[in-house]
Symmetry: D2
Subunit: 100 residues, 4 copies
């Protein structure tokens, strides 16, 4: 089962600057060989369900290992059985409908 994910991980108890933790999550996703795209309030990921979920677990493990005592992630999980669709397809689908 393919899944489209939007991951927003918030380390709690490490101050207001969380960029190092988010960058480490990008490394985890890259190492996992997943397709992903950082945006201003999270990261879009696509791949097989188990592979993506394993990567999200590693993100939590790594961020805890970096010293964050508490993490709250907000994750969206999109699956569909009617057809294949990439992350870029979703963006293209909306942009094709915008007023010119």
């Amino acid at each position: 089962m393919k899944v489209h994910v939007d991951l927003c991980l918030i380390p709690v108890g490490v101050g207001v600057s969380v960029g190092d933790y988010i960058a480490e999550c990008q490394n985890v996703l890259r190492e996992a060989g997943l397709e992903y795209q950082l945006h201003a309030y999270g990261t879009n990921i696509e791949g097989e369900w188990d592979q993506v979920m394993a990567a999200i677990k590693r993100c939590h493990e790594r961020v805890h290992a970096m010293g964050a005592p508490r993490i709250s992630s907000s994750v969206k999980l999109g699956t569909r059985t009617d057809r294949e669709q990439t992350l870029q397809d979703k963006i293209d689908s909306v942009e094709s409908k915008l007023d010119q």
Copy 2:
């Protein structure tokens, strides 16, 4: 790694009445032997990361099998390394601080 989860699963493409699908997810969580609590905009779940994630995957699989062509779930994932805490502990912690 223990995790606290808030799961809000939305079947898309099956009309406005989604109660049957949410009820089936409650069945999945019960069958998995997880602690969970339905609320008005989702379900709180606690357990071991892998066990909880397997249950969420089964929820998507079952809801697709019931006929929903598309699902978008919104999931919160809370982990902490500083101490053990149950779902009820979190509620008690806030309620103990409320103005009397």
Copy 3:
């Protein structure tokens, strides 16, 4: 326009214990005269859109005033035009369908 909300506010930069901040948000909601229900990963709120949104803004203002330099809230907003439904109706609708 009536709205059903699930609010999960996370103060960032104030350590791992966030109960005082969440309790203050409960006070804000009570003062606003809104219907609300704390659960283990957020608070369900129902009311008129503008009144609920004004209360969420006050939650951010109060939590900043208590010393939190950064806040990230995760909010779900449910509206419908087909019929009236309370927060409790949503829970009852699912529970009535559960396996006995």
Copy 4:
């Protein structure tokens, strides 16, 4: 109070193709004069709290007017008092820390 928002609006009860509804929300944001950026699982928005919230309300109103009987939006709201930061600053902050 400035706010960074991530908005993911899901029309329920109108089938699986939701691109027209999301495109209309992009029109609402453009008409409101807000900074926004579509991504594959939502739209990032920045602006003054009241102006952004008014636009999100208009998105719900327009999508209902287009025929969707039910909407569930998932919204993240980020505010901070310690410093000014744009949406692009957030992306740059993470990207500057990535392994080369």
